[in-house]
Symmetry: C2
Subunit: 400 residues, 2 copies
């Protein structure tokens, strides 16, 4: 058996980011930059007023002075002249500060009447002026490459004058559930059959991680059927979920081997889950998950998540962990890393209380859906007392 | 001036969830349930084996016994008979346990040869059997109403045999930027103009919160133009962002008043941001945000987020906060609640270190894009020392 970290490292070693495409800014959120985004303009483009008021020469702006108002320059309507001695220009937030001016007299410190403005509070040079390029200068890097774009990044790229962005193509992920017992929701359920859940959950997960899921028809437990179902999707990644019969992985392997699968098959020292297949079928990476729903989704969090991120152009980090304290004691762990389904409860000190479900059967999908996090238990971890500190993987932030 | 909480409460009081629609399960992730999802089947549908092995009668399964193998029942191929005394049925994980059997002999504890299987380890009644309905029974509530569906929920709804789900319609959100100085990215920039960033950032935010954004053309600083731009979108919510001139909110109000806007206009004791407009234009709620990019996005997190969630059928909670410790001391706060842009750094004790940017100018979009969180500073908060505990709003989890 190999460790989770070793399995993840081997998967990442077998993956390369997708190619680049140009997308409109309006569709760029959530995509991963394939190139740094450099500013194409200075922001602000020139010195602008941070407040409503009057552009003045600082030397003129002493309390008690009266200045001649030479005009008004709302944002978007700059004044072309040069401000002379004894002159003031009406400005608003965002208005360009005209040549000659070096201070802003606040509106609340001014009294305008008969084409003149009285200074009620002495100005300070440079005060209330946002300098050209204060937010960013042309050509600076606004957004690095290999960043998943947030809504704020989209705003920043817009401000940098980018109508298009270069991003990694969304990974295409074919999802193949196998098993004679599996029916699609709403379709006739065969005798002894169950309704398929893995493919739909995995498809939603792939989409949440920025991939394009293709759910292919369920393959019967037959090597030829599996081989046929695995091909023709132009996928970057094929995720299979075994049926629940013994040897299903062998069947998936046997089927894909007929199409030239180069395969690694591992037993991983973990629970839930254990067998994992990783390989390559031509241009498509293949990740074989267990058929059990909880095992499939926990393995997806641990292995499909970094794989999807790596394909999308990100480093492929393990799912993030946060500290929590145990609500109840836990027994010693065996040689397999365990991932206990748990509820999290906020506590005043900021460290959540993690309550492991008393039943950890890997067939309990309902409990996994209700769970907030997985409590990590290292191989051979000693018994843990209540209130002991543990690391947990919160599930919702994963898109799971 | 009113408080943030009061403003949020008044906004929520003016909103009702959107109506319901039926969506295919495969498009339901991220949507908010409009009705509870009840199980339509038992899961497992009958008693099934949790392991590969043999179904036996517990009384027969003593070490040293030999049982007659009467058949094999892979998952999806149940055996129709009743297991008799001295008989065993080959089973696999997920196989239906036949009538008459009440124990599973594990494959590794069995030796099969010549149509017989030798018991190498005494079985325990009920062991390794997943009982019918162990995950869930027909008619139990799998997913409550008013829950945003995760990938796991989608799997659970699938397992419960739901090809369709009833969810709230995505809120339609028209986004109207106003201002003579604003150009769209890539388009000619007028003299003294800047490139529009608010509308695109807000659109990405709305989409991340499950809404459907409609970015309408920028309206010039003219009440008629604004009135015309605000209508005809069939939106549940219209978000305006002022230009940066004085009186723009008045202009938006003046424009929308011509179409019958019932308006509330508030000054909110907060920074960045202060003026906020909320009202109703026929069937459309109207939220007027400041024009300044940082103010607009912080106000979006505080007010548009609960509004979007409420429209989508959720409670409309404030953005979640987590504790952090200050990296550096902060001065006393004035009467306005402050939201300091900050970086978060993980620490061994699990409470992040929050480092406020030294410049908090609300025109610095680049800094907001880089920030991890907003440090909350209550009105009149006394000076805070380094290492003092504060509450922060992490930004990325908001979809911002």
């Amino acid at each position: 058996m190999i460790s989770i970290d070793e399995a993840r490292a081997r998967i990442l070693a077998g993956l390369r980011p997708t190619g680049n495409e140009i997308v409109p800014l309006a569709q760029a959120a959530g995509r991963v930059t394939a190139a740094p985004v450099l500013a194409r303009v200075d922001q602000p483009p020139q010195d602008v007023s941070a407040m409503d008021g009057y552009a003045v020469r600082a030397a003129d702006g002493r309390e008690g002075t009266r200045l001649r108002v030479v005009g008004s320059a709302p944002a978007g309507h700059p004044w072309a002249g040069t401000l002379g001695v004894g002159e003031a220009l009406r400005l608003f937030t965002g208005s360009i500060v005209p040549a000659g001016a070096d201070a802003v007299l606040l509106q609340e410190d001014a009294e305008e009447a008969d084409g003149q403005v009285a200074v009620r509070e002495t100005v300070r040079e440079g005060r209330h002026i946002r300098r050209r390029g204060q937010d960013f200068l042309k050509d600076v890097e606004l957004i690095p490459r290999a960043r998943r774009l947030t809504a704020r990044d989209v705003g920043l790229a817009a401000a940098g004058n980018h109508p298009w962005l270069s991003v990694h193509r969304r990974p295409r992920v074919a999802i193949l559930a196998t098993g004679d017992e599996i029916a699609l929701p709403g379709e006739p359920i065969p005798p002894g059959g169950i309704v398929s859940s893995n493919a739909h959950a995995l498809a939603a997960f792939v989409a949440a991680r920025g991939g394009v899921p293709l759910v292919v028809p369920v393959a019967r437990d037959d090597a030829n059927a599996i081989a046929a179902a695995a091909e023709g999707h132009g996928a970057d990644l094929l995720i299979t979920t075994g049926g629940v019969s013994v040897g299903t992985h062998d069947l998936v392997q046997a089927g894909l081997a007929r199409r030239g699968l180069e395969v690694d098959f591992w037993k991983i020292a973990m629970r839930p889950g254990k067998p994992l297949m990783f390989g390559r079928l031509g241009a498509t990476a293949v990740l074989g998950l267990p058929g059990n729903p909880v095992s499939a989704l926990v393995c997806a969090a641990l292995f499909a998540l970094p794989a999807l991120d790596a394909l999308a152009g990100l480093p492929g980090d393990a799912p993030p962990t946060v500290p929590a304290v145990l609500a109840t004691a836990l027994p010693a762990n065996d040689h397999r890393a365990d991932h206990l389904r748990a509820r999290l409860t906020a506590q005043p000190d900021g460290i959540a209380l993690a309550t492991a479900y008393s039943r950890q059967d890997s067939a309990l999908l309902r409990m996994l859906a209700e769970a907030d996090a997985l409590i990590l238990r290292a191989p051979h971890a000693p018994p843990a007392a209540a209130r002991e500190r543990v690391q947990v993987i919160p599930l919702a932030p994963l898109g799971l």
